[in-house]
Amino acid sequence: MSTHEHPDYLGHHFETPQQQYDSSKLGMWLFLATEILLFAGLFCAYSVYRSNHPEIFVYAHQYLDKTLGGINTLVLICSSLTMAWAVRSAQTNQRRGLILLLSMTLLFGCCFLGIKYVEYEQKWKHGLLWGKRFHPHTEETRSHEKTAPSAVPPAIASQPAPVAPPPPTGEDRSLIEAAPRGPAGLAAGAIEERKPGHEGSRPSNVQIFFGIYFLMTGLHGLHVIGGMSVIGWLLVRSVKGHFTSEYFTPVDLGGLYWHLVDLIWIYLFPLLYLIG
């Protein structure tokens, strides 16, 4: 029996720090499995509706802002880098580096949420919401375009407006090429001629896409907030000097969680923004 050194951080029911570390790590991996399964329900709903009604997804996804989504993807990837680096700093006893890198991760998290807020606000303004609240008021969208074009997401702007059809960008071309695979209403010509707000040109039940979009990104957003709270807590503890190369388990586990949150976004981005 090892009655000798029993450090403060070691729980009374563990024999060695190694046993405690291994247990915590296994516990975290199991928890991550439950998180993946939580999201799996939504991914499953996504697959069912997309395979049954591809036209809804092809039509509706163009209202999402690829640029902002892409920037957010980059932001999260950078945050994963700083997080991994922070874990390394903890392992090598670099306290100042740890504090700096955790702060940067937190900052990237804030950045992600800020951009997400801008996206949500645009959807809200244009009435591109879920189920019952889906009331696209594209007439307003157009007048809005004239007054403040910078606030309009490219996907909306790419909608042919009667005043000045925008020149096709790379994004638009990818859209148009994808369309013929959908039903007739989505043929390239139809998109070109479609008047925004004209009900007939829109496949029915578009609100399903926005329902799924808000559920998936919303649940993911909540996880980002959860992850940021964890990082904030780690930051406080590292300022207090709790972590050493002997004991860095919480940083390690917090890092694993953050990477998972990041990874889920890596799947959400193409599935929602880059269809077609």
Binding site: L26, L30, A45
Partner: protein
């Protein structure tokens, strides 16, 4: 960490986990798995009482056709609350969280579970979930049935959100218990405790924990979607908004079918212990029983579609799910045959826990075999949504899980509280419950096969005799339960002091005092074969069993 306390014989140890510290806080914020297990026990028994009262009200209403004591609206709420309370608050946490929490670390020879704080947190989540469920009941209850099927659950004006939020929180409580158990079994086994030295109850808890961790999150997201659907009108399950209500059924049963194995697997684990101990014979086919627990856990994930045979699934899917459903019978039967083989030529002691074990084998046999009737496609079309289903799942859940839980409760009662209950009353109560149970539910098989639909408030007069008999049976069961509550409570104050090993078991929890000390063992226990009874002998002076020499490896 040898504490130097060498009072290994146990009987005279003053400090035990019950008297280790005092006051409300020392319980409600304890990190001791034994106290957490005990708090769970009290909570789930309260839920069981509540669910039982709802059940008796439902049965009383069905005594006569038409109105007996309540109107149809109230009746709908009553059977929903019966189902929801029994399943989410009693059966699912029942064996793992209450008995498992108490027994698992001690059986393993560990000081605690891997994450004691998480364990306490899971109990607090349980309390929070229960409060939401009770709030929903206080506001007037839910009338959807415990399955919360859409679109009715999104349109009814009863209090679905509070109840589903409660179930959502309870789900996380269950996840954390399962996670804790998996890590504990992987990482906290002391030297000598190999996988195949583990008692079979631990194998069963391990299988259960796998399901808890992998299935419950899907229930979480399903209930979350239901809540969002009701609160914001997202429309994922609402046909008026382009959603698909059958998708809800798939999601719900993807959890809720494995959940029935969360209920039955730990029950089977208890029976494996009881059958061997009370037959004084080594368990037959140890590895088969251990692996069959894992097999049931895995197969349990693949059969959820059999709840939707009549919901418009394709014929191909129906056939696949039907075949997979039949395959679950294989590991289940492996267990039953091994228990019977264990008893064969054993010296069977008919103590109360063994009576429950024998009841389990009989009742689970009926429950399991009628499951095959329902897994057969053509037969299911006739029996779907009839009392035949009600009888089938009561035979498995109550005749199986609850009976096993009671067996385990009687078996570990002396270890938990250090007191013996009245053995004669124990046997009588078991007999009353057995007879009452069969009277209540066997009649429902007959009723169901004659076409009596489940959940109906009214019925045609020809079913009256069956309903009468069933209701009287439920009253008889209630008598048995009240008798049990009486003698168990009595034992806490007046019961004979329990010896270290009253039943002659070879697992580790019977090597420490009754009740165990705060740290479970005064010194590290010697790990041996958990089913070798050869060197345990009865000592009338204790009166209990004592060990001659060390355990056989």
């Amino acid at each position: 960490m040898a504490s130097g306390d060498m009072a290994a014989s146990g009987a005279g140890v003053e400090d035990n986990y019950l008297t280790h510290s005092h006051g409300f806080k020392s319980w409600f914020f304890t990190l001791d798995h034994k106290r957490i297990g005990l708090m769970y026990l009290v909570s789930i028994l309260t839920a069981f009482f509540l669910g039982g009262v709802f059940a008796l009200l439902v049965r009383t209403e069905l005594l006569t056709p038409g109105k007996t004591i309540m109107d149809a609206e109230t009746y709908n709420r009553m059977f929903t609350l019966h189902g929801a309370a029994m399943i989410f608050l009693f059966i699912i946490p029942g064996i793992p969280a209450a008995l498992g929490n108490f027994v698992l670390p001690i059986m393993l020879g560990a000081k605690d579970v891997a994450f004691p704080r998480l364990n306490l947190f899971s109990y607090h989540l349980y309390v929070a979930g229960a409060i939401f469920a009770l709030a929903s009941i206080a506001m007037g209850g839910v009338d959807t049935g415990w399955t919360f099927y859409t679109p009715y659950s999104t349109t009814t004006n009863s209090h679905v959100i509070a109840m589903t939020l409660g179930a959502f929180i309870l789900g996380f409580s269950s996840i954390f218990t399962g996670l804790n158990f998996i890590v504990t079994i992987h990482k906290l086994r002391p030297a000598g405790m190999t996988w195949f030295k583990m008692p079979l109850f631990l194998w069963a808890l391990y299988g259960t924990a796998i399901i808890q961790v992998l299935a419950t999150p899907v229930l979480g997201i399903t209930l979350l979607l239901l809540i969002v659907e009701r609160a914001l009108g997202v429309g994922i399950f609402d046909p008026a908004l382009g959603g698909d209500p059958v998708l809800y059924q798939h999601f719900f049963w993807f959890y809720s079918h494995p959940a029935v194995y969360i209920m039955i697997l730990p029950g089977m684990g208890i029976i494996s212990e009881l059958v061997s101990v009370f037959s004084r014979k080594h368990i037959f086919g140890y590895k088969f029983i251990a692996y069959s627990s894992i097999a049931i856990a895995v197969l349990g994930f693949l059969v959820w579609g059999h709840h939707m045979f009549t919901s418009g699934q394709s014929a191909m899917m129906n056939m696949i799910f039907s075949a997979l459903t039949f395959s679950v019978a294989i590991p289940s039967a492996i267990k039953v045959f091994n228990w019977l083989a264990t008893m064969y030529k054993g010296a069977i002691h008919l103590d109360t826990p063994m009576l429950y074990a024998l009841s389990f084998i009989f009742l689970f046999g009926i429950g399991g075999l009628t499951g095959l009737f329902l897994g057969a496609l053509a037969v299911d079309v006739h029996l779907h949504d009839t009392y035949f289903i009600v009888a089938h799942f009561h035979y498995t859940m109550m005749g199986g899980t609850v009976i096993a839980f009671l067996g385990g409760l009687h078996y570990w009662w002396p270890k938990m509280f250090g007191r013996m209950y009245n053995e004669t009353l124990g046997r009588i109560a078991c007999l009353i419950i057995f007879v009452g149970f069969n009277t209540t539910f066997f009649t429902q098989f007959i009723m169901g096969s004659h076409g009596m639909p489940r959940r109906y408030y009214n019925y045609v007069p020809q079913f009256t005799p069956y309903h009468r008999l069933s209701t009287w049976g439920s009253y008889l069961m209630a008598v048995g339960f009240f008798l049990m509550a009486g003698y168990l409570l009595h034992s806490l104050f007046r019961g004979r002091k329990a010896p270290v090993n009253p039943w002659g078991s070879a697992t580790l929890e019977w090597q420490t005092s009754s009740p165990p000390p705060h740290d479970n063992f005064p010194e590290a226990p010697a790990v041996g074969d958990p089913y070798d009874f050869s060197n345990l002998e009865y000592d009338p002076s204790l009166p209990g069993y004592r060990r001659r020499g060390g355990p056989k490896a």
